[in-house]
Symmetry: C2
Subunit: 222 residues, 2 copies
Amino acid sequence: MQRHFHDELNLVKQKILKLSSLVEDMVAQAVASLVDRDSRLAEETIDWDAKVDTLEVEIDEDCITLLALHQPAAGDLRFITTAMKINSDLERMADQAVNISERALVLNEEPQLKPYIDIPIMSQLSQRMLRDSLDAFVRKDAALARQVIESDNRVDGLKDQVFRELLTFMMEDPRTIPRAIQLILVSRHLERIADHATNIAEMVVFLVEGKDIRHTSAPPRA
Amino acid sequence: MQRHFHDELNLVKQKILKLSSLVEDMVAQAVASLVDRDSRLAEETIDWDAKVDTLEVEIDEDCITLLALHQPAAGDLRFITTAMKINSDLERMADQAVNISERALVLNEEPQLKPYIDIPIMSQLSQRMLRDSLDAFVRKDAALARQVIESDNRVDGLKDQVFRELLTFMMEDPRTIPRAIQLILVSRHLERIADHATNIAEMVVFLVEGKDIRHTSAPPRA
């Protein structure tokens, strides 16, 4: 049965990586829709969200089944409950990609306010953070998780830069305000994606380096 | 042992309600800091966040201990894993209250742009959604959870209203732009708090009405 359990656990890991890769594609494509002014890409991205929701429910059910049918030891138990939390984060990252797509649909109907420079960089950084946080999780690599956490500062810095630049546009010409606000919100959506990756990375550090349940003051197993 | 397990489960429920009530107070106080222009309240709110973080870790550890020491049946298992997810949502709602406090600190240094009307309403609605979603969880009340999900539309409507009104201010007088953007972001933080409550409510509906693990196609217990 032990082998059986680990096979099933591996299957869950594979599904989470599949979900993560789908979400990463959604982020990339939502931003591509904006940068390439191709609204078809935004619509496709919005459609993908249903696949994410299905996969999220499936992964959660797999985790519950694993916990119910086997009685995993503390380490595996913690891994599985962390997987369930990461699963929620991934689904919410996909929601952010949908939000970006919706803003792209609006912005692509208007003349382009300025060349998009920092937003694609933010997007690449966030995608990288997403990928690395998941790799850190399945490989239980706390060092990689710490790198993800550090990258969050760069994303925050870019978000502030986008804000300052667009503020200048708005102050100089109020007609740019609606488009500038949409772009500010796109940068906030990307920031939130990076925040989710940071949350995942923090969970990984705790999973790998945190207190072991056997050392807590909980009553001994009855 | 069964009694023991349910006592401990009740303790976890009490702790989650305590955390939820702390987060609710943080949201109320962050917005009060803005409305009353009392920056001391914002600073206090920011300080409370450490308590939230401590309580979050404690609840997660309690849940892991419950899962490790007892082998809860499917229903309890699902309840505990949902508690762990809700726990993360609560911690992130507290982060949003901190964000609101930080914007209050900035805004309180400037002349007030306009009387705050919709933002306090958004705040009250979000707090109510938070409280109801947690009550729905501990009482497994799917009907109440559905009410929370419906309330989210009102919060979104208010967020759009805040946005449109502040857009008018910005267009008419570009000097108002920095303050208006801060207020738009406050309304987005409140929207995110309502989103988290909605996420919690959705989990409650799934917990109460969702597929039962005993009916899945998973292999029978070995």
